[in-house]
Symmetry: C2
Subunit: 195 residues, 2 copies
């Protein structure tokens, strides 16, 4: 599912401009779908050209006119058809896990730092979800609640796993192969070579 379809989906719930959509992506979909302006604006232009959304310009004082997009009947139809396509994906891509896989080639201090900051991120994610959901009225859509709950449950499970299993990982003592690390830094990308 591409960003175009997702924009259309958000517009099926409420009209919005590109800027608004970006904010919605960042609050509602933060834990499972990212999108920047560089993909949202072109997506909206494409949707408008295809007649799946209408655009209404609202002049502002001192800033670019707000381009408010509203879904059309054709758009709604198209979106619901997208939803009826099979095999939705669910893919993780994690450099963090890659690093953990190679833990014995990472020095101990850094390894601990990585684990701590990953726990921090998961904690932030859970907190973020809690923050956005606590203001939701009791009749808010079930789908939104389900998805938020999923994100929170995963973040909590991940934190728990790391806390309970980090003892397995020791990493490589920092001083053990100083030569390699010095070489690494030299090669890195122009850090000045010092001691």
């Amino acid at each position: 599912m591409d960003i175009k379809t997702l924009c259309l989906g958000l517009l099926s719930l409420d009209e919005a401009c590109g800027y608004d959509l970006k904010k919605k992506f960042e609050s509602l979909f933060k834990h499972f779908f990212a999108a920047g302006y560089g993909s949202i604006y072109p997506a909206l232009a494409d949707l408008a050209e295809a007649g799946l959304v209408d655009c209404r310009e609202v002049p502002q004082n001192g800033r670019p006119a707000r381009k408010v997009y509203a879904i059309t009947e054709a758009g709604r139809t198209f979106f619901q058809d997208s939803l009826s396509r099979a095999n939705p994906t669910h893919k993780l891509r994690s450099d963090f896990l890659v690093m953990m896989y190679f833990a014995d080639q990472v020095d101990t201090d850094r390894l601990q730092l990585l684990l701590d900051s990953r726990i921090g991120s998961f904690h932030d994610a859970a907190a973020h979800i809690e923050r956005i959901t606590e203001s939701w009225p009791s009749d808010s859509p079930a789908g939104a609640r389900f998805v938020a709950g999923f994100g929170k449950a995963m973040a909590e499970a991940a934190t728990r796993y790391i806390e309970e299993n980090r003892h397995m990982l020791k990493g490589q003592a920092k001083s053990q192969r100083p030569d390699v690390h010095r070489q690494a830094h030299r090669l890195a990308s122009g850090l000045e070579e010092r001691v």
Copy 2:
């Protein structure tokens, strides 16, 4: 972290040809990193050109020579430097969650199907991890164990969450808006327009 770096990482553990690497990706990294031949072979060529790996051709009878790649000292250094870079990512991209978010626009039958098949996938993932780890010797790398355990824990947590919370989602009755669904099919992508 790109596929090139990951290939280098795998080669830091053992020499291998492109075909072997693909298999390793599919067994070890299945749950958090995907790679096809279309990215692996070019990656290996690049690594060889950069001097980070050496290539040795082993002739076969009746099939293309096996190109066995082995990491060089420069490669090892480079890889360890990559591991020392900051902020490793951990990103989920899930069409499944998108669909669940819009659950009230999906018909009930399909929604149940999606939930069932997602549980099935998570179950498969956990089973896959169990299968590959059960043959690991007790002295196998801690990182590999940690990562496998993480994948299993997440798959189990996800399954549990879905099973305990799917009752929240009802979806839309299939018969409620037949017109829309018919329209959807017409618009889909050149299905012949019939009644």
